[in-house]
């Protein structure tokens, strides 16, 4: 059994490594065509990306990436494509910041309330897509894209001085959250790691447990693997669609929390955007696996951070965007290739083992003659 697991893990790693190699190769080619030395570029990136200061940034950024990717992955495990994580987290972060800035509570309660608001807003925004899907048959792909636009509009509408915003210099933002709503970070010599990086870890563990160990998770995965089989087994697919969307949206609501409660303390126009789309790429790269997604988020974040050095060396930093794009493309292809190969090789192996054991009905468990 142990040998089997090693084999399975090896196969699991083969695809992302292959994708990475392809991406590095293609990026090198692009660099060469543009007249730059790939060796210089990559070594500069590696040097800068591993500086302690960079590493703090990488960890901080990857916490948001991770949450976003897990939100997407929850949908993916059920064949739901939640493209709306972006809108869900922005709306959630903004409304949570508004509530956080408006109340005064004891420290832990205050933080709890802000997080609760974020989760509820994210979940409700995603639930709209879920309900539309089960009642009206609207594809969640379409509705979540539309809801992203709506979220942007709603945020822009609410983030004006007439409503929830205040002017701070040139920036417009929500009223700052008082100190009782801050989450202290882990201060190092080279910067502060957000305290809510831990929430990403917790969500990762929760995701693993929910999907792998609970009945609900089993139903969810079964629905994703084969809807007819899930229906025949008694899964109420409509309810599962709504539940999965709500869950995905709830996690999406957390995406902005590490930064909001760890650094910016208010939602402003320069709050990071597009994290929801990055999450899709990271979920793909990490194969919806809690650990895989973790590595993928760190890698993505590393590439983002190390790209900053390229401009100084006169190398266009867009090369990193090309690399990230190729990784995703290559990884999708590689996973499918590896998946088919794995199924075929398993069939071969089973057939071979059964032939060896001869026609006699001897199951692996033994004990029967």
């Amino acid at each position: 059994m142990a040998g089997w697991d090693v084999r399975r893990i090896g196969l699991g790693l083969a695809a992302p490594l292959l994708a990475l190699v392809v991406a590095v190769g293609l990026s090198s080619a692009v660099l060469l065509i543009a007249g730059h030395d790939p060796g210089t570029a990559f070594s500069a990136m590696a040097d800068f990306g591993t500086q302690p200061g960079s590493m703090v940034q990488i960890v901080n950024r990857s916490s948001a990436y991770y949450l976003s990717a897990i939100a997407v992955a929850i949908g993916f495990r059920m064949n739901l494509f939640n493209i709306g994580v972006d809108g869900q987290y922005q709306l959630a972060a903004m409304l949570a910041a508004v509530v956080g800035g408006a109340v005064h509570l004891p420290p832990v309660l205050h933080v709890g309330l802000i997080i609760l608001v974020a989760v509820l807003v994210g979940a409700s925004w995603a639930a709209v897509a879920g309900v539309l899907k089960v009642t009206r048959g609207v594809s969640e792909v379409i509705s979540t894209i539309m809801l992203n636009f709506l979220a942007t509009g709603v945020v822009a509408y609410l983030l004006t001085p007439q409503r929830f915003a205040i002017l701070q210099g040139n920036n417009i933002s929500t009223k700052p959250i008082p100190a009782s709503g801050h989450v202290p970070g882990f201060t190092t010599d080279n910067g502060t790691v957000y305290g809510l990086v831990l929430i990403a870890v917790l969500i990762g563990v929760g995701y693993w447990f929910l999907l792998g160990r609970t009945r609900f998770g089993f139903d969810l995965r079964a629905t994703g693997q084969s809807e007819p089989a899930a229906v025949a087994s008694g899964v109420n697919v409509r309810r599962m669609v709504v539940a999965a969307m709500v869950l995905s949206g709830a996690v999406a609501g957390l995406v902005g929390m590490p930064q909001l409660l760890g650094a910016s303390y208010s939602y402003s126009l320069d709050f990071p955007a597009g994290l929801g789309f990055t999450g899709i790429a990271i979920a793909l790269l990490g194969r919806n696996h809690p650990l895989g997604v973790g590595f993928a988020a760190l890698l993505w974040s590393f590439l983002d951070q190390s790209a900053l050095i390229l401009d100084i060396n006169d190398i266009p930093k867009e090369i990193v965007t090309i690399m990230q794009g190729t990784i995703v493309l290559a990884v999708v292809v590689a996973y499918e290739v590896v998946r088919r190969w794995r199924l075929a090789s398993e069939q071969r192996r089973v057939a071979a083992e059964l032939r060896e054991s001869g026609p006699a009905p001897v199951p692996a468990g033994g004990g029967v003659s």
Partner: protein, 592 residues
């Protein structure tokens, strides 16, 4: 079973070989490979290739048709060595194949289907007249009775098959491979097919006929080649073997029989369905006012040509689909309950399409054990999956049901069809269900697995399980059931006593055209199938079949009346006296 309608041609051994396969070996993941297969098919004969499911018949035919390339061995067509890289090569060499599952476009006409891919062109347009003339010509010459103009969706199964045959003839085939051609046909359509084969043979064409239905093979073939475990066992003449002997060659061991020995039917109704109607998207009733009762220890079989509402009936009973009417489980109204609640109350389900509805193909076996049992011990404990217990219980199923697998950690897709099915049956029998809804429980399963599944069904029945059995295998239905109903266009139109009814009689009832078809030529039953005694049974003692419109059906099958009693003289006077004498309708139909 018929008399030898297509008589073996006397020139069998003298005719030159049209197809000669030598030493064919094909290694293929997951299924039985062909190993050193040799097969000689003489020109102008019908050559049957028989073997149980998974024996390698289909692979061999795919090799002959160019869909697979052999790893070793040679193929000769009319004495010339060939090397097919694709079906196009095989077609060019005069080989045509009629697949078990028809490859026809429903929304095109017969003509369009036939010419698809080899359209006669005049200028830039399809030369319909030329194609039409050619189709009529071929149809007349081979007695296929195919007209070019109707839409394929309007055609019955038998007609569609003849369109497929015509399609390969249109492409100039001289050697025709028929893959399990009778699997989808009722007995009367089988007769028509065999008539067509006789015509083909008379015209000098060669037919390779794949089947595992031995009576048919003996009827139609000039020579029979038996394949077992991927290799050819022997080639025999039909006159040299009996069905039993042939079956033993195929299986290599004693034969299983589906017969249930003694009745275990009790008077405790477990599943009661009343007035169940299911409508499709257009509002058409695909299950129409179906009522039935199954008692503890009873197997109720539903016979019918596929597509007459069986799938919808099963799904409605399981709560997958909702309809009008009432479903009661052990006296409790479950009509409003979903599938999970019904399963929790003791319903189990062996679905028709195991890879679609029965399994998570890419999940390990032990996870598949939990499927459908997500709320029940031992696989769950509270809201959590109990992995250890689930695995242990999967080991039990693998052991008790002889699921052949090296481990319970392999994915379900790695198992052969028969082993997948054994796993499903084992799973559904877990937790002592009260009702089992089994749709085609042994379809596509080899003889060994079939026997095992039948054994398990019988054992559970003896312990009081109520079974709703849907099957296309009439022998299975007759052998396992305590009572039979016939479904036609969504209605239960007749009931029959499995102790006395023959497959032919059931087949007549299934088509709804009983009298005319049974009176047709070529269906004179052999002496062994002549029913004796009062075979016709009024409905069972407690069961109350209904059916508002009584279609008179074939002999020995009792049409069910609109009322719960079969003795409603006023409405049906003269249509059927109850109980009708066994032979009253044999020749003249029940309209007499």
């Amino acid at each position: 079973m018929t008399d030898q309608q297509v008589a073996p041609s006397p020139t069998t051994s003298a005719a030159p070989a049209a197809v000669s396969l030598r030493g064919i070996t094909k290694r293929f993941p997951g299924v039985v490979a062909n190993r050193d297969v040799s097969l000689t098919v003489r020109r102008g004969t019908v050559h049957a290739v028989v073997g149980e499911n998974g024996a390698g018949k289909s692979t061999l035919m795919k090799i002959l048709y160019g869909m697979q390339r052999p790893d070793e061995g040679s193929i000769e067509i009319d004495g010339a060595l060939v090397d097919f890289h694709s079906p196009a090569h095989a077609i060019a060499a005069g080989i045509g194949m009629v697949h078990q599952h028809f490859k026809l476009a429903d929304n095109l006409t017969v003509l369009e289907n036939v010419v698809l891919g080899s359209e006669p062109i005049r200028g830039l347009t399809l030369d319909r007249d030329a194609a039409s003339a050619r189709i009529r010509d071929l149809s007349d010459r081979y007695g296929l009775d195919v007209r070019p103009d109707p839409l394929v969706e309007r055609l019955g199964v038998g007609q569609r098959q003849r369109v497929e045959i015509l399609k390969v003839l249109y492409r100039g085939a001289r050697i025709i491979i028929l893959d399990e051609p009778t699997a989808v046909l009722v007995p009367q359509e089988v007769e028509e097919l065999f008539g067509a084969l006789a015509e083909l043979k008379a015209e000098g064409l060669t037919v390779v006929f794949i089947s595992h239905k031995l009576d048919e093979v003996l009827d139609v073939a000039d020579e029979i080649t038996v394949i077992r475990r991927g290799t050819t066992v022997t080639t025999v003449l039909p006159s040299q073997v009996t069905p039993r002997k042939l079956a033993e060659l195929m299986v290599g061991s004693e034969l299983p029989s589906p017969e249930t020995r003694e009745s275990t039917v009790t008077d405790r109704a477990v599943l009661e369905v009343a007035g169940l109607t299911v409508r499709d998207a257009d509002g058409r009733a695909v299950v129409d006012d179906v009522s039935l009762t199954i008692h503890a220890g009873e197997v109720l079989g539903i016979a019918g040509v596929e597509g007459n509402g069986q799938a919808e009936l099963v799904e409605a009973v399981m709560g997958i689909r909702h309809g009008e009417g009432q479903v009661m489980l052990q006296g409790e109204d479950v009509t409003r309950l979903g599938t999970r609640a019904r399963r929790d109350l003791g319903m189990a389900f062996v679905p028709e399409d195991r890879t679609r509805q029965g399994l998570l193909l890419e999940a390990p076996l032990w996870e598949n054990r939990a499927l459908g049992h997500q709320t029940k011990a031992p696989v769950v404990r509270g809201p959590l999956i109990d992995r250890r217990a689930a695995r242990a219980d999967t080991e039990r199923i693998v052991r008790e049901y002889d699921v052949r697998t090296p481990s319970i950690d392999v994915t379900a897709s790695a198992l052969s069809g028969g082993n997948q099915q054994k796993l499903i049956v084992g799973r559904e029998m877990s937790g002592q269900p009260k009702v089992l809804v089994a749709a085609h429980p042994t379809r596509g399963v080899d003889v060994g697995a079939q026997a095992a599944i039948w054994d398990q069904l019988r054992r559970a029945r003896a312990e009081g399980l109520a079974v709703l059995l849907i099957s296309a295998d009439l022998d299975e239905l007759i052998g396992l059931s305590d009572a039979l109903r016939v479904i036609l266009r969504g209605r239960l139109v007749a009931s029959a006593d499995p102790a006395t009814v023959t497959p032919e009689e059931l087949g007549s009832a299934m088509t709804g055209a009983g009298p005319e078809t049974t009176a047709g030529p070529g269906t004179t039953a052999g002496p062994d199938t002549t029913p004796t005694g009062p075979d016709a049974t009024p409905t069972g003692p407690d069961t109350t079949p209904t059916g508002p419109d009584t279609t008179p059906t074939g002999p020995d099958v009792t049409p069910t009346g609109p009322d719960t009693t079969p003795t409603g003289p006023d409405a049906h006077t003269g249509r059927h006296a109850a109980p009708p004498p066994a032979d009253s309708s044999r020749d003249s139909g029940s309209e007499a």
